[in-house]
């Protein structure tokens, strides 16, 4: 397996782009089953987000990204047109360290997964994990 390391100078850029990519999400919207009912995200744990990249550091779109929980179960999503993925809404009982991020796409194999340091982070701070694919 070829280890690929993200370039530190890109970290800020990653954060900015991810911030723009999800800027439109806004607060959780109303529209539950009850009349006038609203969702509340107050009980949620940290979200997971990051880029899916190839060996050149280019964004990989429409890659399948899985967040598997050690105790069983998973969330699955796809990277968007900028190679960004996001999982929101894990329960606060889910230990972020028990979540494993992986990525896959036809014609590629997973090369490396790089979690960003969470030193000093609050338990609700987003967890950034980059996943690298290499062409087969």
């Amino acid at each position: 397996m070829t280890g690929i390391r993200a370039r530190p100078r890109r970290i800020l850029l990653v954060g900015l782009i991810a911030g723009f990519a999800f800027a439109g999400l806004g607060p959780l919207r109303a529209g539950g089953v009850n009349l006038g009912g609203d969702d509340s995200g107050a009980d949620e744990g940290p979200s997971f987000f990051g880029f899916i990249r190839d060996a050149d550091g280019s964004a990989v779109t429409d890659a399948k990204v899985t967040a598997a929980v050690k105790s069983g179960g998973a969330l699955v999503t796809r990277s968007n047109s900028m190679g960004v993925y996001k999982f929101s809404g894990f329960g606060k009982d889910i230990d972020p360290d028990s979540v494993t991020i992986s990525c896959a796409k036809d014609g590629y194999r997973q090369a490396n997964v790089v979690p960003r340091s969470r030193a000093g982070a609050d338990s609700k701070d987003p967890v950034e994990v980059e996943c690298y694919l290499q062409k087969e």
Partner: protein, 549 residues
């Protein structure tokens, strides 16, 4: 489980238009015109013989011509009606069909009450306000149309107790029969007051007429006019057909959303039968929602607030009831879905527990239910709603999260969930079906989209429906690759080809609240079936296009 129960109440319909009797090969054709437009395309012309529960409808073409298929009407006296927004029938209103072909000139005049002709979609198009203002109204459609809201004269303060009262109603409530929940229901007071304030700005509380233009969708054109629609009136207004499907013999079966009956209709003879389902929780709302077939062709019903599942032996015509265990049952228990399709694999039938946002499986060997939280990984702050269900060949469950935005696969062995958020946020996936290629087709109710989740590649595709404010309830993929959908808002049946995103929207003859949709692919072209949940009728739609295989 209780012993099987069965007795049939046979109600023979008057069979005016259906008998294979002499004189069946009548022809009724003609033109539709008005002073305002001359020849009119897209006008629905309906004929109902005196004493018959059956109404046949065709649509005028670009030259204003219409024609009922040969042999569809028998000799006799018919009442005619039309549907064309902004118009009403000037005449003729009755016609005598005899031995000779009839050719009539149907005259329309401008309607004096356009508001009475608006669909829910039309109202949503017409009303000022933001999407957020209007979104709570989507819940109202489950029990009634919007016209009564917009004709009301309540101010905001007067609206609040009305909305509070309605929030206490069970969702299996229709205008002809109100049912109240036994368990108290939490209501978001602030949200409800906000809704009341909005409604008071769009109803007639401030003026005798609406202070906005009433807009309607255009009439059908082209392919949308090439259709025959048959309505079968059911014998009581309190019959609320929710799920409709045909069996291997072409008989039509339906769940009754507000009464404890399973209904059967023979579309060839018109005979209608009802099979009573035992009421096991007196004082609780009655009626059933999901109607599914198992691998043996037997029918299963989810008994809603009666807290159980029912299996109907289609040969013996007997029920076996599977009540929820007392340890799990309570006043809020509500089972809206059932999925028995692959129960032969492991002896488990899937269902849901609406009040706890959970799924359950019923172990047929012991009749015990086990509750599973499919959203255990997620935070508790979001509203989820396990709703439409499909099972694959291994009895793994695919459940649509109607409260939020997810497709969830629940492993049949471990009960572990894999959650797939839809590309569109808060799409509220409602109901759908799994095809033979492992593709889950489903309706994204709140997103106004049809969608497909490929269970093999675990990827989504989404298509916006052509008319905003359609709010599709369900999707059926026929064996030609076309999708069929309907809902509670637009009084239209959507036929959609995902290969080229082409769409046909068939307008229906009456206000029609569609839930589950079903397509009989044994006919050529296919035949679409649905119930009119608020209109006590079964609906058959036959496109006249050539079928593409």
């Amino acid at each position: 489980m209780t012993p099987a129960l069965c007795f049939a109440a046979a109600l023979a319909f008057a069979l005016g238009g259906l008998g294979a009797a002499p004189g069946r090969a009548q022809t009724l054709a003609g033109t539709v015109a008005s002073a305002a437009e001359g020849a009119m395309e897209g006008v629905l012309v309906s004929a109902q013989q005196d004493g018959s529960p059956i109404t046949v409808t065709v649509v005028s073409d670009a030259r204003g011509r219409f024609r009922f298929p040969d042999g569809r009407l028998s000799a006799g006296h018919y009442r005619l009606r039309i549907r064309a927004a902004g118009y009403e029938l000037d005449g003729p209103k009755e016609i005598e069909l005899g031995a000779a072909p009839a050719d009539v000139s149907v005259r329309l005049r401008k309607s004096s009450d356009l508001a009475a002709q608006l669909t829910n979609t039309d109202w949503l198009m017409s009303m000022p306000g933001t999407a957020a203002d209007k979104r709570p109204l989507l819940e109202c459609m489950s029990c009634h149309g919007f016209e009564r809201i917009l004709r009301s004269t309540y101010d905001a303060d007067a609206f609040v107790p009305v909305l509070e009262r309605m929030a206490r109603y069970a969702n299996n409530t229709i205008p002809a029969r109100v049912q109240s929940r036994v368990a108290p229901r939490e209501v978001n007071a602030a949200g409800l007051r906000k809704l009341a304030a909005y409604l008071a700005t769009v109803n007639l509380s401030r003026a005798p007429v609406w202070n906005y233009e009433l807009r309607t969708l255009p009439r059908p054109t082209g392919r949308a006019t090439r259709v025959v629609i048959t309505e079968y009136d059911l014998p009581r207004q309190t019959i609320a057909p929710h799920d409709v499907r045909t069996d291997a013999h072409g008989n039509v079966w339906y769940s009754n959303f507000v009464e404890n009956f399973l209904g059967e209709l023979d579309p060839k003879t018109g005979v209608h039968r009802e099979y009573p389902i035992p009421v096991r929780k007196p004082g609780f709302p009655t009626g059933s929602l999901d109607l599914e077939a198992d691998g043996d062709g037997n029918l299963w019903l989810a008994l809603m607030f009666q807290a159980g599942l029912a299996r109907f032996d289609i040969k013996a015509k007997t029920f076996t009831i599977f009540p929820v265990d007392p340890a799990l049952d309570d006043d809020a228990m509500q089972l809206s879905m059932v999925m028995p399709r692959a129960a032969n694999v492991d002896g488990k039938v899937w269902t849901n527990d609406v009040a706890r946002q959970a799924v359950m499986w019923l172990d047929l060997s012991g009749g015990k239910y086990e509750r599973i939280d499919p959203f255990a990984l997620l935070g508790k702050g979001r509203v989820h709603g396990p709703y439409g269900m499909a099972a694959d060949a291994g009895n793994d469950l695919y459940v649509m999260d109607f409260g939020d935005e997810n497709i969830v696969r629940v492993d049949a062995n471990s009960g572990a969930s894999t959650i797939f958020p839809t590309p569109t946020e808060k799409s509220r996936p409602r109901r759908g079906m799994l095809d033979d290629h492992g593709r889950l087709w489903f309706a994204e109710f709140a997103a106004d989209k049809l969608a497909m989740f490929d269970t093999k590649t675990e990827s989504f595709k989404e298509w916006a429906v052509p008319t905003p404010h359609t709010y599709p309830y369900d999707v059926y993929a026929d064996d030609t690759g076309e999708l069929w959908s309907g809902g509670m808002a637009s009084d239209r049946v959507l036929r959609f080809d995902p290969r080229n995103a082409s769409a046909v929207e068939y307008l229906l003859p009456r206000p029609t609240n569609i839930r589950r949709v079903f397509v009989d692919t044994s006919t050529d072209p296919v035949t679409f079936w649905a119930g009119n949940n608020h209109g006590a009728e079964i609906l058959r739609l036959e496109p006249l296009d050539e079928r593409i295989r």
